[in-house]
């Protein structure tokens, strides 16, 4: 594909993340560091998974269940990472609060905590987009493009960019939901992230069938919109509760 098309695909997958980064994260150095660390953590889980599965790949069978098993184990491992990141975040929060007390600045606001969760989630989303979509673009510069048989209406790169956009959004916002759920102890929010992640992963199994991506991708976007809506609602209720609790002083 041409360089212009390549840049287009990259922007398609990462455009919203880039604007979110520029608007929210780039002003706060701590959030940039959080983003980099969570990207690194996601990469490490991916390497661990590939170490485990390397012996079995490439799959010789055309059956769908090895792929289902692959996705199941990968999602389970990454959700375990999310829990681990939550524990790490709790300790970080204590350190930051202690530091804030020492330099006599206010402690972390609820919006700060949500921003940290957002940066962490965006790290995962960006890592997904980079490793699953963008790193495959660069070897393919040149005159031709590539189509997958199972989904032959649009070029492979466009399909993977669209899927990467959906997943980046899901990762970004489900981290906010999950952290909020853990901190407030709400079961619905706590289970939301793993369930959505698993559902989204399983939906991509539909792409194995011929023409399956026509159904799979719109459903995937349905899940993305569900995540966005739930996150928005949750943030709204948390902030209004907080504001009514604390009064108009802190926002």
């Amino acid at each position: 594909m041409t360089v212009a098309a390549g840049i287009g695909y990259a922007l398609l997958a990462l455009g919203p993340s880039l604007s979110l980064f520029t608007a929210v994260i780039s002003h706060k150095p701590f959030l940039i560091l959080t983003l980099l660390s969570s990207t690194l953590a996601w990469l490490m889980t991916l390497i661990a998974l590939s170490a485990v599965w390397r012996a079995f790949l490439p799959f010789k069978t055309a059956a769908w269940w090895p792929y289902a098993l692959l996705i199941l184990t990968s999602v389970a491992f990454q959700e375990a990472l999310r829990l681990f990141l939550w524990r790490l975040y709790k300790r970080m929060e204590e350190i930051l609060d202690a530091f804030a007390d020492r330099v006599s600045k206010p402690r972390l606001f609820i919006t700060d905590k949500m921003q940290i969760a957002l940066a962490g989630g965006m790290g995962h989303g960006v890592a997904h987009a980079i490793f699953f979509c963008i790193s495959l673009l660069t070897p393919a510069f040149g005159p031709a493009t590539y189509y997958v048989e199972k989904c032959s209406q649009i070029p492979f790169f466009l399909v993977s960019a669209i899927i990467a956009l959906a997943f980046a959004t899901i990762h970004t916002f489900s981290m906010v939901i999950a952290f909020n759920g853990y901190s407030e102890g709400k079961r619905v929010d706590q289970y939301f992230a793993p369930v959505v992640h698993l559902a989204a992963g399983m939906l991509t199994l539909m792409n194995l069938a011929s023409g399956g991506c026509m159904i799979g991708i719109p459903l995937l976007y349905g899940i993305t919109i569900l995540t966005l809506a739930h996150c928005g609602k949750m943030v709204w209720t948390t902030l209004t509760q907080n504001r009514s609790r604390v009064g108009n002083v802190l926002y």
């Binding site: 706060k28 150095p29 701590f30 940039i32 560091l33 980099l36 660390s37 990207t39 690194l40 990469l43 991916l46 390497i47 998974l49 590939s50 170490a51 599965w53 390397r54 790949l57 490439p58 792929y67 692959l70 996705i71 990454q78 930051l96 530091f99 020492r102 330099v103 006599s104 600045k105 206010p106 402690r107 972390l108 606001f109 700060d112 921003q115 940290i116 997904h128 980079i130 490793f131 699953f132 790193s135 495959l136 660069t138 997958v148 199972k150 989904c151 492979f156 399909v159 993977s160 899927i163 990467a164 997943f167 989204a200 992963g201 991509t204 199994l205 792409n207 194995l208 991506c213 926002y251």
Partner: protein, 415 residues
Amino acid sequence: MEENPRPRTILETCGEEIIRIVTPVSICMLSVVILVSILNGGSSSSGDLPISSMATIAYTENSSDSIWDKLKGALLNSLVFVAVVTAVTFLLVLLFYLGCTKFLKYYMGFSAFLVLGFMGGEISLLLIQSFSFPVDCITFAIVLFNFTVVGVLAVFMSKMALFVTQAYLVVIGVLVAYWFTLLPEWTTWVLLVAMALYDLAAVLLPGGPLRLLVELAMSREEDIPALVYEARPVINDSGPSGGAVQRRVWREGRGRPVMNENEGIRSNTRTVLASGENERDYVNAEEGRADELAVPLIQHVNIRMNSTEDNVPSDDLVLEGIGLGSSGAIKLGLGDFIFYSVLVGRAAMYDYMTVYACYLAIIAGLGITLMLLAFYRKALPALPVSILLGVLFYLLTRLLLEVFVVQCSMNLLMF
């Protein structure tokens, strides 16, 4: 809705020094990756350009050799290179000890001139050729000459605007790193690991040349002559207005601080901090001689202290009772920039997936080194952790991750 002015939280400023170092390192790496992709894209085999230099004096790699031969050859090359660097570093320590700092400073300016003029010129010519950019020789020569001279002044004088100095240091790093990526593949990787181990030994072992240099500089309260990138110091927003007294705190291993106070505004202090004296530097191999390496260590981090705070916890800072703000700047030697970029540039010659993985690994290593620096408070080698992590991630990505990801993506299976 009227909005109360929100009090600034610590989230807005925490970690700023780290970002101020990570940004130029990232820019340097990005530039090298882009240069490598543009210029080396055509020829994938590294045997095309037989670079004869100190690093390949022992063995010139041939793509038809067996793996064992290549490994042996690469080890031999690296040993020779590390030996030369060690010898030259000891020479530098000797010169510094004898007080020939002016000579070192002039030498540094001269090598900056060589790097910017000759290597910069060569790479510009390759770029012009690659893009068929229409420019005539005279214009090119004038522009190159001006660029080089400003660069030498930036490195030489400390009164230049900080941004210009920083930019030129990054450019020098990019040029030298690009040159290193022209070495044969096995030699490059083994060389990187060898330099990381050398750095570890030279800074931490009691007889190591870099440690001697740091101790000499500390005992004389001078700055080490070297090409060192210094990040812009972070000034606290609630700091004392005007006339901020800046201090630079050096620390002995156990905590006997040697302080060097300076008055004045930030630019003056920067003069002191950026070591108006001299620098050691890295010049390379155009002519086949490898000279000294820029100090690949991280200088002390001055711990940021809020100026309104009076009682600093005594275990980390020894500035109690003085109560004035100080801000710090992290310094990173140019050699570190160069070797990080060489690693990423080499990864770019294989595939971009390794580039992303190695970039994250190097930044993680840099973060770990900075944390260790804040913990141990003495000069630490910046290369080992990052290079070893980078090499590890490169191997893991190339051998394991790539197959996995390509398999999943080709079937449009993502998670």
